[in-house]
């Protein structure tokens, strides 16, 4: 076997299924020797960072960086405070620091976004973003860390984080010592039901597997979410599960399959709202946001007694970064209690800064002015957000929070996917 490796643009690989082939690349490919040798030789190798930047993220590297007064922040949709088309927290940041923020919402899902920025990372180029937000339950964050494509953070620039970050997001299991990431928001994946249809109280994941609701059950298509849910239903802690547990979980999901309406992505919430489903796997923040509208007050989020999967979306700096110092400033700015209070009033996911609760109850200065300004468009007092256990978790729900399984190697991830992906593609 030839030891040579060739870079292949993912566009080519996509082209295999989409019929979209880059001719230039194919000619480059075509020039490579005889076909039999080619068959063995075309190991598609991803070179990790060819820019020769071994020192990226080191103290000396950080010391050389300067503020550029601009930063590109790529986030998920509807994930920051909005008021009349503006983002008050970002406006304040620009006013105070003079750093212009280009805030975009390109991330719909972890893996597709990861494949979009991967060619740039592989080539050692700028991805177009100084900050991106990746979820810890998706393999994408691990991929970025393993390939050494994230810039280690400058811990001297994280005073607010050190002071205000809560215990759920400080030194987390997926990024010990917060070497690469700072949490943006967290949330739970558990279940929600329509209490106008289902009258009996629900306190268990088992309800999702009850044939009583046949045809009205919504499950998630994401294999990590789906598999973890079945493990919880079997009374197994996902993080401590073994491959033989996974097989049992698969059997449970197979038995459930005829009763499932659909395996949803983000649109599970639409199905729950319009009545296609009456009980569904759900994310905490979505249900809380839906409850703000009086039409959907009947939707109830459940913290099942077996536990709820706890995930965190993490801000991180991809390599090839152009404005690292500006990025650090912005990330740390979001750990001010004032800032988080305003974000949470709109977003309603789990706040990484517990003391923002106090700001929501007793705001002063800029926060008081901004929260008051947003009040008519939100429609509920700030105390509702402050008292929600889904935003500021109490000891009870923290106790129910379960971490995801951490794959020890790629073989495990493949095994997991091969068990749970086919179920969603019946």
């Amino acid at each position: 076997m030839d030891e040579e490796h060739f870079d292949v643009d993912p566009a080519i690989l996509r082209g295999l299924t989409e019929g979209r082939l880059s001719r230039r690349d194919m000619i480059r490919y075509g020039g490579m020797a005889g076909l039999s040798a080619f068959l063995a030789a075309c190991g598609v190798s991803g070179s990790s960072n060819t820019s020769g930047s071994s020192g990226v993220g080191s103290a000396s590297w950080w010391a050389k960086q300067k503020l550029h007064h601009k930063v590109n922040f790529g986030n998920w949709p509807l994930y920051v405070d909005v008021f009349k088309g503006n983002h008050p927290t970002l406006q304040r940041f620009t006013q105070e620091t003079g750093i212009q923020v280009t805030y975009t919402e390109p991330i719909q899902d972890n893996i597709p976004f990861y494949t979009k920025i991967r060619p740039a990372l592989q080539a050692g180029q700028y991805t177009g973003y100084d900050i991106i937000v990746m979820t810890n339950n998706s393999p994408a964050l691990g991929f970025l860390m393993n390939a050494n494509w994230l810039v280690p953070l400058d811990h001297s620039m994280m005073p607010n984080f050190d002071k205000y970050a809560g215990p759920l997001v400080k030194n987390p299991s997926w990024d010990r010592g917060n070497k690469f990431t700072m949490a943006w928001q967290s949330g739970w994946t558990a279940l929600a039901y329509n209490s106008s249809v289902i009258k009996e109280p629900i306190d268990s994941v088992q309800a999702l597997y009850d044939p009583k609701y046949s045809g009205k059950i919504g499950m998630m298509a994401d294999p990590q979410e789906l598999g973890s849910n079945a493990l919880l239903a079997l009374g197994i802690e996902p993080a401590k599960s073994t491959p033989s547990d996974w097989a049992k979980a698969q059997a449970k999901l197979k038995a459930q399959q005829p009763h499932v309406r659909h395996y949803y992505d983000q649109d599970y919430i639409t199905a729950l709202k319009n009545g296609d489903t009456v009980i569904s796997m759900a994310w905490s923040g979505d249900i809380f946001q839906a409850n703000l509208n009086s039409q959907y007050r009947d939707l109830k989020f459940v913290f099942p007694k077996e536990g709820a999967m706890f995930w965190t979306d993490n801000m991180c700096i991809p390599k090839g970064v152009q404005n690292p110092k500006d990025a650090m400033k912005l990330m740390d700015y979001y750990y001010l209690p004032d800032t988080q209070a305003v974000v949470e009033y709109y977003v309603d996911y789990v706040c990484p800064v517990p003391s923002a609760k106090h700001v929501l109850l007793h705001p002063t200065g800029w926060a008081a002015k901004t929260l008051k300004m947003m009040r008519p468009s939100i429609g509920l007092p700030t105390s509702v957000t402050a008292d929600a256990p889904t935003v500021f978790p109490n000891a009870y729900v923290i106790g129910l929070s379960k971490p995801y399984y951490a794959y020890k190697n790629q073989g495990q991830l493949t095994a997991w996917n091969n068990l749970f992906v086919p179920i969603t593609q019946a």
């Binding site: 292949v8 295999l16 991967r118």
Partner: protein
């Protein structure tokens, strides 16, 4: 052989010979390069990739001659493979039944407007087939212009729906691939010598008999060509299922698309593609055995 006979021939002609020998190769070069670059290279890449082990994170793959990937993927997704066979088969059958009379009529009764009628068959192709399929989704939606009005008129029950059923996918496939069936059938029927039919009638064959024993046998190669041209692309189709189908009608094309784009399993996706390709090749091979390779080029 030519070179050997050339030895005895007078010298002056010798200078021109290299070019003469090369000229057929030069002439096929543009087509050959086209074929190698756009067909052979992607194909070999796919075959190769299906035998490699890939790092899901970086997408880097190394050759491990991992033959077990193919049976492994088949055991994971054989249901979807069978669904695709069933959908594509049903759609092809519908297309054959629907387009035979159309092609027959154009070929035998189209007169001097034949080309106009053929153009009419192709007119829908001037619009992207994704857009046409989305329009069908709009037309067939549960409370859309067709079902909605039938339901409000009380003709159909409220719970009746077409979308998200196997039939929606089959009808979508049949609709989109109809011209691929109709055109080869037309070519086969159009070239039937009318005198042969007249001869059959001279020999006291009834109309039915002359159709069954003269026209049909002569149209069979066209039917096979139509079958291949419709069945093979319909088998791998993933648009119709995604737009018109529901959760439980996933076709193998969608599975492959997801393996590549959602789960980054390039080896698995390639392995399934290889299976898909093998099924298509078996079909073409059978065709060539039964009817000879010559007829393929005539009808395609």
């Amino acid at each position: 052989m030519e070179a050997a006979s050339a030895v005895g021939i007078a010298r002056p002609r010798r200078r021109r010979r290299p070019l003469k020998v090369l000229s057929p190769y030069l002439l096929i070069m543009p087509g050959g390069i086209w074929l190698i670059v756009l067909f052979v290279v992607p194909l070999v890449t796919m075959l190769s990739l299906s035998l490699q082990t890939c790092n899901l994170g970086t997408g880097s793959c190394t050759m491990t001659w991992h033959w077990s990937e193919i049976p492994n993927q088949l055991s994971l997704y054989h249901t979807q493979m069978l669904t695709s066979l069933y959908f594509a088969g049903a759609a092809t059958l519908i297309d054959l039944v629907v387009s035979f009379p159309i092609s027959y009529w154009i070929a035998f009764h189209g007169g001097n407007k034949k080309n106009f009628f053929l153009l009419m068959l192709l007119v829908p192709f001037f619009v992207s087939f994704v857009i046409r399929t989305i329009m069908w989704q709009f037309i067939l939606s549960d409370h859309g212009i067709v079902l909605g009005s039938l339901k409000s008129a009380g003709i159909l029950p409220q719970s009746f729906h077409v979308l998200a059923t196997p039939w929606a996918v089959i009808i979508g496939l049949a609709y989109n691939y109809l011209p691929f069936t109709a055109l080869p059938l037309y070519v086969a029927l159009e070239r039937i010598d009318h005198r042969v039919i007249e001869a059959a009638q001279d020999l006291y064959a009834s109309k039915r008999e002359s159709f069954l024993r003269v026209v049909m046998p002569l149209a069979i190669p066209g039917v096979f060509a139509a079958f291949l041209l419709t069945f093979v692309p319909a088998f791998g189709d993933y648009i119709n299922q995604q737009i018109l189908g529901g959760a439980s009608q996933t076709m193998i094309g969608t599975v492959i698309q997801n393996e590549f784009l959602t789960y980054l399993d390039y080896a698995g996706g390639s392995a399934l593609s290889v299976v898909l390709l093998a099924i298509a090749l078996v079909g073409i091979f059978l065709y060539a055995r039964v009817l000879g390779a010559r007829t393929i080029e005539e009808y395609v």
